[in-house]
Subunit: 421 residues, 2 copies
């Protein structure tokens, strides 16, 4: 009851800001900037998906992504400028009940922060003044969570450990975890504030196992909405499944089979992938473009056209060679090369300074979303591992696979159907 | 000559963007957000200091801070949303000539990037599409630079090592350095791009000694321009010297004595200060406010008024106690308590994950600017070290002191008067 009153309070606040809406993902970068250029990009998503922000209120701070809904926030929406990925392990003795209480606390706080209301009681104040800035908080369960909470019988088959890949050089301490939280916001203080509160609320129940910080381009840094780039300089996200695709939901979200607790959820594969930027930068522009199969400047496929032109994997150049090389990343990764396997990539870049040899400790916090990892990440990474021209410039340094339940309604918490099922 | 042509090209580009201007620092946060809310904050700095951005071009990406000028950029302008601090050591055998060539390359690249023109030749493309986003690049020399380049006679007395402070727990590997570069931009890719190019241009001449990443609130995250906060939640920067103060230049910049190579320059004290956030968060709001001497919500001094009301250090409460406690940070640090000693604080917050004990590895990349460290940082830190209520919650983990020469004109490079003097 008290929680419902809070909900009403939140909606009021959201209405006051005039922008209670859930942004949906078009080309990854395009929608990311849409908050600042209301009107410019709406056509790409369909009018019903995006409620426009009144121009006079538009701004980084005022944009909100509601926490409650069929799916958790932070999956179909464009990735924000700042991200924190954090895995927790349950403390010794923390049982199913303690985990349920934690998820209840976490969900309540995430909902408040996403709506731009200050959390009740203990607060650090570091995000005072700032609006919610498109904050999303997404919760997931790792394989080990289920044994520790006596829920082994509920563990989805999809959480079987990922196979080993030949190129893996995984740091186990920065991999896996009982619980996983993904935080994103367009303001660094808003994102850190959420991280700090959730970590404090975990005290006694769960401890940070690993934590990583990532970033994307700031909204408004480009003159018009554009697909974002990664630290290799490529436009990244072009050929992602789009919410307007007829098969988007089938690919990304778990279907509802008899009210299964994962209905409406998704599986997140998280890989910390370091880029060997020094070797990469030694390649000529032409070689770099061949490795990917797209032009660096504008993301157009080497088979011709513009960024959004469908890739023609069969196109042959006048000299008889394939326009998109045999080991080009977009050929090897394409659904056509993997019996339709597809995933939604929603990544953050990272840069943690320099390694002892002077190379940047930088790359991609790769997060791939799919209804079933065995029909998404796994077959594609198997193929990339063997045949991708890009893999010579990458090091997979950590890995995680998490079951991310569907979203919850006001008054409920994420994972409730599992934990009280 | 070729360089002058480039300059003309750059000005054209800046004019095209319509926003060739050098933002000046009012209260730190206020001006930071001014780019997005043109018109709102101009009064605070004086109309002549800020040329307004035409509303239709306003945006994070399009704002520029010219590289050339009497002073280097990145001192008097508000701190940006993203910062990289990086120190280099000269490679064995790199002499004065090699250092001069490096500063020439660096200055040329910094000027191009600040103006939003793509650097010639080798580029990584990671900031393609994005505007300059208020990029500034600032160069300084550490004490050790002078011996290594045979310039010992030119070493300013002000570069004497800082005294030891009792609370110091300094990591020497993350302290000092022959050369120091401060990069700031309101877009993460623009900032990283600059860092990456400068590091590559140093190859063979200088190697990264340490590198740190910091952040401030995103422009536009608040509904109106406000002083920024730090990770303890306080408004930070309120009582900074302001460009409109009559003694601003005297406090911050080295005066021109017979064309000394440091004329128009400044000394940067760089301290990585970890915050003991877990202990801090255990204090009640009232205790936290007493430790600083200002209200957390709005930054108003505990002696009354609003954020901008002058502090009354002598005010006594009805119960006979001082309104601003004897060990309050703003009392101990104030110029009045230190024979007028003052500095311009222009910091970035940092957060590098969690330490082994679960505490956040987070705090302030404190950068203080002054005409003379012996009349700025040193006496104030001596006093804080003994008597500051805040120091119990801080760990000074690294330290650097750098001589930052004046700015240069088009065709010149930073440090030219030293290196060719
Ligand atoms: C740091 C590592 C990686 C980088 C820099 C990278 C970069 C790119 C780029 C530039 C594109 C083309 C633009 C686009 O459609 O987004 C792309 C496409 C794609 N990538 Fe990656 N990628 C990386 C890792 C991976 C991994 C690990 C997977 C999956 C196992 C993957 C799967 C895909 C897929 C499915 C596409 C779309 C292919 C198509 O249908 O056209 N990528 N990637
Ligand atoms: C993490 C460490 C620190 C934190 C969190 C911090 C925080 C603050 C805050 C909240 C204020 C009041 C608002 C303002 O005027 O900006 C302030 C003022 C000030 N701080 Fe610090 N500070 C830190 C370290 C230092 C250090 C190392 C120095 C110099 C050695 C310093 C010098 C000053 C000065 C001069 C003032 C203005 C005092 C006045 O005239 O009112 N601070 N600081």
């Amino acid at each position: 009851m008290a929680e419902q009153a809070d909900q009403a309070e939140q909606s009021k606040r959201a209405d006051h800001h005039g922008i209670s809406r859930r942004r949906l993902l078009g080309t990854a970068g395009a929608a990311g900037a849409a908050g600042l250029v209301a009107g410019g990009a709406a056509g790409a998503f369909g009018a019903e998906a995006v409620r426009e922000t009144p121009a006079e209120l538009a701004g980084v701070g005022s944009a909100t992504v509601p926490f409650h809904g069929e799916h958790q926030a932070g999956i179909a929406e464009p990735a924000q400028a700042h991200g924190h990925l954090v895995a927790f392990d349950l403390a010794p003795g923390a049982d199913r009940k303690a985990a349920a209480a934690l998820l209840r606390r976490w969900s309540a706080t995430a909902a408040e922060l996403a709506a731009g209301t200050a959390p009740k009681g203990d607060d650090t104040g570091i995000a005072l003044d700032a609006g919610p800035s498109s904050l999303t908080v997404t919760f997931g369960f790792g394989r080990t969570f289920f044994d520790r909470t006596g829920l082994t019988a509920e563990r989805p088959a999809a959480l079987e450990p990922l196979p080993d890949f030949t190129a893996d050089a995984l740091d186990r301490k920065r991999s896996d975890g009982d619980l996983w939280v993904q935080i994103g916001a367009d303001d660094s203080f808003v994102a850190f504030h959420a991280l700090r509160l959730l970590q404090k609320q975990a005290a006694g129940t769960a401890r940070v196992r690993w934590q990583m910080n990532g970033f994307n381009r700031a909204p408004g840094a480009t003159a018009r909405p554009l697909t974002g780039r990664n630290l290799m300089g490529q436009m990244d996200g072009t050929n992602n499944p789009k919410p307007s695709d007829p098969d988007f939901a089938t690919r990304v979200f778990v279907p509802d089979r008899n009210g299964d607790w994962m209905a409406g959820g998704s599986y997140a594969v998280v890989r910390r992938i370091r880029m060997l930027l020094d070797s990469w930068d030694h390649l000529s522009l032409e070689r770099q473009e061949k490795v990917i199969g797209r032009r660096k400047s504008d993301g157009a496929p080497l088979s011709g056209g513009t960024e959004t032109t469908p890739v023609d994997l069969n196109k042959v150049e006048a000299n008889g060679s394939l326009a998109i090389a045999g080991d080009a990343h977009i050929r090897v990764a394409a659904p056509e090369s993997n019996r339709g396997a597809a995933m939604l990539r929603r990544a953050f870049s990272y840069h943690d300074g320099f390694l002892d040899d002077g190379a940047p400790d930088a790359g991609l916090l790769f997060v791939a979303w799919q209804a079933d990892p065995l029909k998404g990440f796994v077959p594609v990474q198997r193929k990339l591992d063997r045949g991708d021209g890009l893999s010579r410039f990458l090091r997979h340094e950590s890995s995680g696979l998490f079951a991310v339940p569907g979203g919850c309604a006001p008054g409920e918490y994420v994972g409730q159907r599992l934990l009280e099922g």
